[in-house]
Amino acid sequence: MSEMIQSNILEISYLIAAVTFILGLKMLSQPKTARKGNFIAATGMTLAILTTILFHKQNGEGISNLGWIGAGIVVGSIIGYVMAIKVKMTAMPQMVSFFNGMGGACAALISLNEFTHYTSGGEVMMMNGEVLVILLGLLIGSVSFSGSIIAYGKLEGKIKDFVFPMQHIVNLSLLAIILALGAYLMINNLDEPLWIYLIFGLSLLYGILFVLPIGGADMPVVISLLNSFTGMAAAFAGFLYGNYVMLTGGILVGSAGTILTVLMCKAMNRSLTNVLIGAFSAKGGPAAAGSGDLTVREVTPTDVAILCAYANKVVIVPGYGLAVAQAQHAVHEFEKILEGKGVDVKFAIHPVAGRMPGHMNVLLAEADVPYDKLVEMEDINPQMPNTDVVLVIGANDVVNPAAENDPSSPIYGMPIIQVNKAKNCIILKRSMRPGYAGIENPLFFMPKTSMLFGDARDSIQKLIEELKAL
């Protein structure tokens, strides 16, 4: 094949891949076509990778070091595939974060290599677009990498929230230093590799400090944001090589990811700024104040089991606590036993329960809870007055009546599941600690509310034993 034809095939396959990315994203945003969309985009990606290896030419030279590249792809594929297959459904968000971090690191490493490559040719002028694009790709890629790893650690429960005084000022200063350093490099033609490694290191540090103070429950939003960062980093690399498929993929994800981040925040009735710097203002929060004179009623698992067994209708409201305790299988067993006793059991799904839209659907589907048992918020609320018992499992803010009747509440205006309208309300909770919004929940102090303290899975297991003993 002549070189001309090869490069034409390459360009056309890039065009096809770019179209599959657009189509894939479009189809991913509709439930019916989502899975097919994912497959189409994956096919386009495979095509682009293969044709790059076969036909890419730079100054008339094809791709060399094929052994290394092949080995890298094989190793990466095996690790990626095994991790993706083995991961538990409940650990999905951190898995996405991890893979996102890998993409960010990849972009950063490309920039590192290109910088040294660019400056190795002796005296060069650094004040140009190529260097600018390399530096931006390095900054964003590194931030995305270290930020994603911190987000991963937080969701795994390995890294705690970490706030220190003046943190946002420190963070902003660090970012300013990185940008200034980049500009300084370019203006003064500093082409020593030392400088680029310094920027690399500072960017990694910034990524860590950026994510550390943000609450664990907000990680999905952060992951979505970092996802769009990696998209941008990929786009910068594409700009550098004049590679349109990288540009398309990168920018699409960059802009779609940003919008998705905003949509996720909207679903929680918060702004992005609030999520990102919320940790600073919520410090010490007003939550604990004023609750001294209010009392809560505790119940035993036996009482709850009897109450449920003789009820006509039981509604279960799952939340983040259910996911953390991995209680989805236990709750399904509980539901089956109750159904066996002739009780009508439904799950009430709040759109942002678990802080990750769709989290509860995925979680309960994993435990084989039938689809028709899951009822959306708008449909379950009218049924609340006829409900005998509501079990709130590890959910808090999504059932907080303050969102409806207290205009001073930070979550005022957020739609809630109106569990306070049911006849009895049982809250399964580990402690009296408020939810992520850090606000008191008046529901807990209502006369018809009782608390069953403990880990969600343990509590439900106890309920199951009690039910069986009845």
């Binding site: 945003s29 439930p31 990606m45 890298g72 990466g76 990849c106 700009f239």
Partner: protein
């Protein structure tokens, strides 16, 4: 400054492309239902794995004697592949869950 301006001037078609793509990205996903936020994020995550192509290009044109460049490029290829393969497989698994629910209906 002039160098950067002329860089932009030389790459005008790419800039147009960039800006149109930004709008396209916003348009394409603006009507996504909340349930699909997470799978969509995961799918988009896999798509930016396209950065692997950059890693292949870097690697493919690295001097075989430059072990630092080869090493960095090799790691970049592994990480990029991880992003692509892991991303698509995880998304598929997630969406598989959704389909199973529909079948039970």
């Amino acid at each position: 400054m002039e160098a950067i301006l002329s860089f932009l001037g030389e790459n005008m078609d790419m800039l147009y492309f960039l800006i149109l793509s930004i709008f396209l990205g916003i348009e394409v996903i603006s009507h996504v239902p909340a349930v699909l936020h997470t799978p969509l994020m995961s799918g988009a995550n896999a798509i930016h794995g396209v950065v692997i192509i950059g890693a292949i290009i870097v690697m493919g044109h690295a001097d075989p004697d430059n072990y630092l460049a080869l090493g960095i490029g090799f790691i970049a290829v592994i990480l990029g592949t991880l992003n692509v393969v892991g991303g698509f497989v995880v998304t598929d698994r997630m969406l598989g869950m959704f389909r199973k629910k529909k079948d039970n209906k």
